[in-house]
């Protein structure tokens, strides 16, 4: 409908913005919360004050997309090394992204939004971590077999149905995080359900998994200022699995618990990367009456509950705003902005430069001095809405400001003020003049935005556009998590039409032999293993630690015969082994055959348990000696009785020379002196009895 072009003007601006407007495609049914009964009068409550039943009232639903890097030798579609992190910059490449038309001949909303930002995208390259594939100057090399194998393993651990043939797809990303403009990704497995015993809602719950895909990782963002975004390419192309759950996580605590559970299961494969950034989740949140919003890239599980709680209430507040606007009779027609260039030549907006006064605040004066464009936008019947609280510390205006920051690339804050703001940068007199000029009454809100000419043109469209979206309530967005648990706009949520086949990569049939091999050697799932350990006598805490700290394999190899022996070994692995690692600053895997010596000597009673930790330590450290000789230091001495007698003899004069506060203290000290001489050969009880007899120590307080 680009009919009204001002006389003598070209309808196209020199900037390459297609005149296609993003048509908000109907949300996929999968994105809508199944309930529509929003509890609009539900009070705002802090995280921690809500029970699972309260979240049920809200209709809270959450699903996770867990991105897990695989610990493979190289990247997924080229043979560059995996897992090398760098800050070195050998060269930089500059690119732009253009939207491509969707299946229906429309531009994908996200794609167009990214294009509207007209960003320069810079990729930093370190020659040690990238080749020409990463910068999209070489077609992909064959998909990495090892990555496919690990992905199939993880899929087996999740109990999913695996496909017969991988088809590599392209998933468009125009934010620049991948130089090709799309991510290569392949469906590996679908549809499964895991027992979810740790759920807040009861031990019988299940967590359904929708799908597991194998995909290449994106770049790491270095900076994003104005029209220039900088990425580092070391992570680009690393293989990762994306596991998508169904929205079965119905409380914030369950979101965290579920995330941890999925991570543990993937780790059981022994083939996934650990550490900062190796696993990141996208969190999908909705409540009754809202639709899915995706919070991207959360790398710590513990921040999840608060984050989704705040997001749930943001949805509630946006739905309250929608109800309010409907009550006021606001319609999309009221907020229609004719497609004009520039947009401030419309009934909803005007060029406000001449209306500013010298008494208006400093930032506006500076804008005037810089020669910025200043536009005022009338938002019909929006009075009070921009000041409506949506998140802790944020009001609805934050939704608009974030859009302007991302899409209009306005950077030097502040760049917007509005009539709902009690501390607005504009004096009341100026607002009155703006109201008069815009034909606004008291029911209307007015936003004032300033910055470079082209950016303000985009900003005016975005302000009106975001307010129009307030009529649908919660727009489909991806959002980024802030440290305080609030979120900010990142992108419009892309639709499924951004996915298409990768013509550079042939289909990849999954060999039956691989699946058979994987299934035959499948590691025990952590929850099953944990139950087995608890049955075997470990405390739940010890059982979990053994698994989470990756000692399970060693533990099962050594397999002590008794419950006591298992508890002892679990404790030694958690304390002694970790202490040794810390001391040597290396996570050296110990040789199970060496440690077997101490386990067996204790199991058979040859070594008394008091010496267990000492011998365990010695076995780790005295690697030049045979395990049996190390054990014999403690278990194999010829005559422990004689040694004890000698030790008692030499202790006698020293004990006599000392004074103690009590008899038990005297006994403890004496034990401490004598015990090392007979450690592992005589029991503590025996030695104690001998000392009492030898020194006539009173037992009354012991």
């Amino acid at each position: 409908m680009g009919s009204g072009s001002p006389a003598g003007r070209c309808t196209l601006r020199s900037s390459p913005v297609p005149r296609h407007r993003p048509r908000a495609s109907a949300p996929a049914p999968i994105d809508l919360n199944p309930r529509t009964d929003t509890p609009l009068d539900y009070p705002v409550r802090a995280f921690g004050e809500m029970t699972p039943q309260d979240y049920a009232t809200l209709g809270f639903m959450c699903g996770l997309e867990v991105h897990q890097q695989l610990d493979t030798r190289g990247k997924l579609f080229c043979r560059c090394p995996g897992g090398r992190w760098t800050t070195r910059v050998d060269a930089e490449v500059l690119r732009h992204m253009r939207p491509t038309l969707s299946e229906l001949g429309e531009y994908d909303g996200t794609a167009l939004m990214e294009f509207r930002t007209r960003k320069e995208i810079v990729y930093q390259l370190d020659r040690r971590t990238v080749c020409t594939y990463e910068i999209d100057d070489t077609p992909p090399f064959p998909i990495d077999d090892e990555s496919v194998y690990v992905a199939l393993q993880v899929a087996a651990l999740y109990g999913l149905d695996r496909v017969s043939e991988l088809q590599v797809m392209r998933k468009q990303y125009l934010d620049g995080s991948i130089p090709t403009g799309f991510q290569r990704t392949a469906m590996v497995a679908l549809a499964g359900a895991l027992p979810f015993p740790d759920s807040e809602l009861g031990p019988d719950r299940m967590l359904r998994i929708r799908q597991l895909t194998l995909e290449e990782d994106s770049c790491r963002e270095v900076s994003d200022i104005g029209h220039r975004i900088v990425f580092r390419t070391d992570r680009l192309g690393m293989p990762l699995t994306e596991t998508v759950t169904e929205p079965d996580l119905l409380t914030p605590r369950d979101v965290e618990t579920g995330g941890r559970m999925l991570a543990r299961i993937a780790r059981a494969s022994g083939r996934v990367r650990r550490g900062a950034g190796a696993a990141r989740q996208d969190v999908n949140v909705s409540i009754a009456g809202s639709r899915r919003v995706e919070i991207k890239g959360v790398s710590q599980h513990r921040v999840l509950p608060r984050l989704v709680h705040i997001e749930a209430f943001r949805h509630l507040e946006l739905l309250r705003i929608r109800a309010l606007l409907r009550e006021r009779g606001v319609t999309a027609e009221l907020l229609a902005l004719p497609q004009l260039d520039p947009p401030w030549e419309s009934p909803l907006a005007l060029d406000a430069r001449s209306l500013l006064r010298d008494a208006d605040a400093e930032p506006l004066q500076q804008a005037r001095d810089r020669g910025d464009m200043v536009a005022a936008v009338r938002l019909p019947r929006f009075a009070g809405v921009l000041g409506h609280r949506t998140q802790p510390g944020h009001c609805f205006d934050h939704e608009i400001i974030e859009r302007l920051r991302v899409i209009a690339c306005l950077t030097s804050r502040p760049f917007m003020t509005h009539s709902d703001d009690p501390n607005s940068l504009v004096r009341a007199a100026t607002w009155r003049e703006l109201r008069a000029a815009l034909g606004a009454d008291d029911e209307d809100a007015i936003a004032l935005v300033w910055g470079p000419h082209d950016d303000v043109a985009t900003a005016v469209e975005e302000i009106v556009g975001r307010c129009r979206e307030a009529l649908i309530g919660v727009p489909s967005e991806t959002r980024q998590a802030h440290r305080n648990g609030t979120t900010g706009f990142e992108r419009i949520l892309p639709g499924p039409e951004r996915m298409y086949p990768d013509t550079d990569t042939p289909p990849w049939p999954v060999p039956d032999a691989w699946l058979a091999e994987i299934d035959a050697a499948l590691p025990e799932r952590p929850d099953v293993r944990e139950a087995r350990y608890i049955d075997g006598g470990l405390s739940p805490r010890a059982a979990r630690l053994i698994i989470d700290d990756d000692h399970a394999e060693l533990f099962d190899t050594l397999a002590p015969a008794t419950a006591l022996g298992r508890r002892r070994l679990a404790a030694a692995l958690e304390c002694r082994l970790v202490a040794w690692w810390r001391e040597t600053d290396a996570r050296t895997a110990p040789d199970p055959e060496r440690l077997r010596a101490v386990v067996e000597a204790t199991d058979t009673g040859r070594l008394h348990p008091e010496a267990y930790d000492t011998v365990f330590d010695a076995l780790l450290r005295q690697s030049e000696r045979t395990p049996s000789s190390v054990v014999d230091d403690w278990a194999g001495r010829k005559d422990p009785e004689a040694a004890l007698t000698a030790a008692i003899g030499s202790l006698r004069p020293r004990l006599a020379a000392m004074r103690f506060s009590s008899e038990p203290a005297r006994l403890r000290w004496a034990l401490g002196q004598v015990m090392p001489a007979v450690l592992g050969q005589l029991t503590l009880a025996d030695v104690r009895a001998r000392l009492i007899a030898a020194f006539d120590i009173g037992e009354q307080d012991a």
Partner: protein
């Protein structure tokens, strides 16, 4: 070779998968529920690529992902619907502005602009002005665009018959008063076609700009739109009235280069910046705003007349002989026996071949075959007087072609022999005279710059100039 209706229903499927589909009454575009030994899957059946194996069915899932299901895992397939959608490129009328130059875009089959069928991945070329406007609206800022699709062939299938048609159309566009010509072309043999046009259409009054893309235009990172925009600027308003290739300068999105059609060569299989001018510097840079920055002092300026010299001909029996050590004389004898009339040798070093083939060269000369020498080093001049071997080869009647590239030598010889099939002397004259910048009088000191990566000064340079 095709069974019309049935093959559409099972497009790309062969037995055994096709048999399984038939058994369950499932065709392409069916929405199905499949029960398999590897689990249950739901989705839309897509056509299969003819080159893929015969064992799998491609299913598009609701999520947009495709997966393959192997025939022998299928227990049951149930058709629950049918959803065929035709993919169409949106067209918008290309705005006409009488104040803007007229540009003719000829299509040869390269996908300079195209759209993707999102389900099958098939690339659909966008070519009509309306389609192009729909995908690259910036073109309307530059000119009034008209288009004509001449062929639909991949770059490697371009050859003499196409050169003749293309040259004729370019000549006609000049006569018809267009302000510039753009030719969309696959990149692999773009430099061959550029050379052919340079010889067949001499003294053009308007720019003849060849353009392609290294990343197809269905990709967000494609160079196609930028190349097309830059080429259109160069054709509509550019001052250089020669056959030029307009492609990315660096791999970054920064500027395009205009390369002379007889000195340009594709130098990398996949880089955006694959086209380089060899032994000289490019004619000009085209910046993002359409402005043109001259690099080379000597070029043919745009004129108002229509006096192009169009000479269309090509002799097929011409070849390039890429010399290698231990080459046997029978290779040359075979060419003579097959009736070849011209041979362009890509020799080693300054223009050498081994002694073993001398007798064969002599036999070829005596049979009336014209033999020319170029260099497989690509840079530098043939200089056959430096070593004795060179002098001996000259005595055999092999004619040096200075710094003409082997490909340009081949095209030029085909053209010259086509023009003068019965006049060897005239051909020799044409071959040794510079017609369209294919030989230069010398090489500028920066005509050979293959930077060596890793060397500190090269590292510093690419850090600054974004490659």
């Amino acid at each position: 070779m095709t069974e019309p209706t049935e093959s559409e229903d099972y497009k790309g499927y062969r037995d055994p998968m096709r048999g399984v589909m038939q058994r369950f009454g499932v065709t392409v575009w069916s929405e199905i529920h499949a029960r398999t030994t590897r689990g249950d899957f739901e989705g839309l059946v897509l056509p299969r690529s003819e080159t893929a194996d015969a064992d799998h069915l491609i299913l598009k899932l609701v999520s947009g992902y495709n997966i393959g299901i192997r025939h022998d895992t299928v227990l049951e397939m149930r058709k629950v619907g049918y959803r065929k959608a035709e993919y169409k490129i949106p067209e918008e009328p290309f705005p006409v502005d009488p104040g803007k130059p007229r540009v003719m875009l000829f299509g040869t089959g390269g996908t300079i602009a195209s759209r993707l069928d999102y389900r099958t991945g098939a690339v659909i070329p966008a070519f009509s002005p309306g389609e192009l406007y729909g995908s690259v609206p910036e073109l309307a800022d530059i000119c009034n665009l008209e288009t004509e699709k001449l062929f639909g062939v991949f770059s490697e299938n371009m050859g003499a018959p196409q050169y003749l048609v293309l040259a004729e159309h370019v000549g006609k566009a000049i006569a018809d008063g267009y302000d510039g010509v753009v030719i969309g072309h696959g990149t692999d043999t773009m430099h061959h076609t550029a050379a052919a046009l340079s010889f067949m259409v001499q003294n053009s009054p308007i720019p003849i700009v060849m353009v392609g893309s290294q990343r197809s235009s269905d990709r967000p990172s494609s160079d196609a739109a930028r190349n097309l925009i830059a080429a259109t600027w160069a054709a509509a308003k550019g001052p250089i009235a020669e056959v030029v290739v307009c492609m990315f300068g660096p791999t970054s999105d920064r500027y395009n280069l205009l390369h002379r059609g007889t000195r340009v060569r594709k130098m990398h299989s996949s880089y955006r910046s694959t086209f380089r001018t060899l032994g000289d510097i490019p004619l000009a840079m085209v910046h993002e705003d359409g402005s043109i920055e001259h690099l080379h002092e000597n070029y043919q300026p745009r004129r108002d007349d229509r006096d192009a010299k169009v000479q269309i001909a090509f002799e097929d029996k011409v070849t390039i002989l890429y010399y290698y050590p231990n080459m046997q004389p029978d290779v040359i004898d075979a060419l003579v026996q097959c009736g070849y009339k011209g041979i362009v040798i890509a020799g080693t070093g300054l223009g050498h071949v081994n002694k073993t083939v001398y007798p064969a060269l002599r036999r070829a000369r005596d049979a009336g075959v014209q033999i020319y020498m170029t260099l497989q080093t690509l840079w530098g001049f043939v200089q056959m007087h430096v070593y004795e071997t060179g002098r001996e080869i000259l005595d055999l009647g092999v004619i040096p072609l200075a710094n003409m590239t082997p490909e340009v030598g081949y095209i030029k010889l085909g053209w010259a022999l086509g023009l003068h099939p019965n006049d060897p002397e005239r051909v020799r004259e044409l071959m040794t005279a510079t017609v369209a910048g294919e030989m230069t009088e010398g090489e500028p000191f920066d005509g050979y710059l293959v930077l060596q990566g890793g060397v500190p000064e090269a590292a510093e340079l690419i850090r600054k100039v974004w490659w």
